[in-house]
Amino acid sequence: MDEAIILELFKKMLLIRKTEEKIVHLYGEQEMRCPVHLCIGQEAAAAGVCQALSKEDIVFSNHRSHGHYLAKGGNLKRMVAEIYGRSTGCSRGRGGSMHIIDKEANFLGSTSIVGGTIPLAVGAAFHIKKNAENRIAVTFFGDGAVEEGVFHESLNFASLHKLPVLFICENNSYAVNTHISLRQPNRKISDLARAHGLNAIECDGNDAISVYKAASLLKEKIGEAPGFLELFTYRLVQHCGTEFDHLICRPAEEFHTWADRDPLKSLKVKLSAVGTTADKIEKDIQNQVDKAFEFAKTSPFPSSEELYMNVYAENERDKL
């Protein structure tokens, strides 16, 4: 494995982890006045997939989107400012944690209705194919989204038109606090994708290198069929908020098993093995994160006039 890629993966994952740890640390101040869905424990999925993408490739995401945004190269300062509801936020305070965007990074948006962005990625892929552009569209969603009708409708259409789209299912076994065994029969989610004619791979979602390899392979084969990647992972925080609520909502043994499989720890070992020390990287990233929070906390709030802006997009004719 290329050392540079391992380093890139580690940096991406550490940035996500440090950012979210800072959210955990400061959330009690009640200055971040919006729900936050953290992905602590799931960083390898975001980093591994985005490592396989080019800057031009398009990404959509769901409510648990900080990791996807940062891994795709989204602006950290503007994301944190958005969570703080400031006018410097990536959505100027309209979206909060669940609606983030960075068009420069081709991260086109995350939303909070489960499954909501799956067809958007299919539409982006439709546009890409129609205009013979050399890029793909990607959408991240969880195991719960598979239960939505729009998931199946989207896979059906993507397969029918052989669209350049990659579906990433982060299977963390829980929809809020409801275990997958109470929601889905005992069959593989990836088999649903295969039934729709997609190239599907199952992968350890806590192993960033495996995720990167699987996503790269599916991307290579995208001309043949759309790709589907099921990543088995686990969120180490509560569904929404900053508490570690495993003892209330999930079996302690299950939690500890997954905590021992922390994706950052296992990658850090590989990093040392190739002779790079993580200390300097950690310090730089912590500094970057601290600065982003400082930026957010000192940014102005949007003015009341801004409330009325952008309900409709202007037309050329309107300006005349």
């Binding site: 398009i58 959509f60 959505s91 100027r92 305070g93 309209r94 979206g95 609606h99 965007i101 068009k103 086109l108 948006g109 939303t111 209705i113 909501g116 962005t117 799956i118 067809p119 958007l120 990625a121 299919v122 539409g123 982006a124 892929a125 439709f126 546009h127 890409i128 129609k130 569209a137 009708g149 729009v150 409708e153 989207s154 059906n156 259409f157 029918l160 802006m309 952008n310 309900v311 409709y312 997009a313 202007e314 037309n315 004719r317």
Partner: protein, 358 residues
């Protein structure tokens, strides 16, 4: 001087022409919907477009209204201009998640960074026993949602001009047709033109009462106004044309002149669009009103199927005549008028020559 004969085409031909002329000049437009490329071409409105523009731009679709709406939204974000077609307004309910949660609010949520220029064409069905799931008229529901534009043309002229305008618009537009309007013919210029979204149109001038109406009910309103003349009542008819955004100043101005208002809408009564116009006028013209404003709408009942039940269900111009006459104290004259003009005809078809498709 020799008057050149004005070209007349039907409403469905006007829609087809608007699509054709738009697609000809803008290659980012594609049109998708169940039956769009087939031989019938959605009541003739998409006929021949596949042959002209190919399978990449004129597409049929799987029966996945929600995902395909989302697909259009995603494509629009990248610069495509999709037109998605549904043969019934009722099918839109299946796509409400993508219409409301994504299309309508996306531009606002992301502070104007992405545009969603998607046109969603819907057709209101009526008659021939189309029943509870093929003839609903839920325009008010769409007009309630911030970020959507809602357009309901009545005439072939407005259908063409408003559709071209809707396609050019940078926002999601709900474009609502009525099946009973598709066959109506009137003058339509052959060159492309636009009609602005947001402006109603006075279609009959008058002084005694203002009748504001939507879509097919404008046809009934005109019928009522033309008949009311014979009992000495001069009604002004205003075709609302676009529900949202809507500049109501023309309606307000008219009511300040007439002092009376009747709103006729193809939808239901409670929380319907007629109520919205009544509220606007009550707020703005209260001191000019000579009588309480009135609504003529569908009753709050799902659409029945039987010939006998639909007869009571759908109001027509005679109901409008009676409401207007009551307000002006001419009930007896109106009753006599209706007994003279009302011809025995089938209420469940737009005209006797109509043989579908429904």
């Amino acid at each position: 001087m020799c008057m050149q004969k004005m070209r007349e085409i039907s409403y469905s031909e006007a829609i087809r022409e608007a699509l054709d002329q738009s697609m000809k000049t803008d290659s980012s437009i594609f049109i998708i919907g169940e039956g769009v490329p087939d031989a019938y071409g959605v009541f003739g409105t998409t006929k021949g477009l596949k042959e002209k523009y190919g399978n990449d731009r004129v597409l049929d679709m799987p029966l996945s209204e929600n995902a395909l709406t989302g697909m259009c939204v995603g494509a629009a974000m990248l610069g495509s201009k999709p037109v998605i077609v549904h043969q019934r307004l009722d099918f839109g309910f299946i796509a409400l998640d993508q219409i409301v949660n994504n299309a309508a609010s996306w531009h606002y949520t992301f502070a104007g960074q992405s545009k969603i220029p998607v046109v969603m064409r819907f057709v209101i069905g009526r008659g021939w026993g189309n029943g509870p799931q093929h003839s609903q008229s839920s325009q008010a529901l769409y007009a309630h949602i911030p970020g959507l534009k809602v357009v309901m043309p009545t005439t072939p002229y407005d259908a063409k001009g408003l559709l071209i305008q809707s396609i050019q618009d940078n926002n999601p537009v709900i474009f609502i047709e009525h099946r009973w309007l598709h066959g109506i013919k009137s003058h339509v210029p052959s060159e492309p033109y636009t009609v602005p979204i947001g402006i109603p149109k006075v279609v009959r001038e008058g002084n005694d009462i203002t009748i504001a109406s939507t879509s097919y009910m404008t046809i009934e309103a005109i019928r009522a106004a033309d008949n009311l003349k014979s009992i000495g009542i001069s009604a002004e008819v205003i075709d609302i044309r676009t529900l949202k955004p809507l500049d109501t100043s023309q309606i307000r101005e008219s009511v300040r002149k007439t002092g009376r208002l009747l709103v006729m809408d193809t939808g239901w009564r409670t929380c319907g669009f007629a109520g919205e116009i009544v509220a606007d006028i009550a707020e703005s013209c209260f001191n000019f009103m000579k009588d309480a404003p009135m609504r003529l709408t569908l009753p709050d009942i799902p659409t029945p199927t039987s010939y006998s039940l639909t007869k009571t269900y759908y109001p027509d111009y005679t109901d409008a005549i009676m409401l207007v006459a009551k307000s002006l104290g001419k009930q007896k004259e109106a009753e006599r008028l209706i007994s003279q003009v009302k011809k025995p005809t089938h209420h469940d078809v737009p005209d006797t020559s109509f043989r579908g498709p429904f």
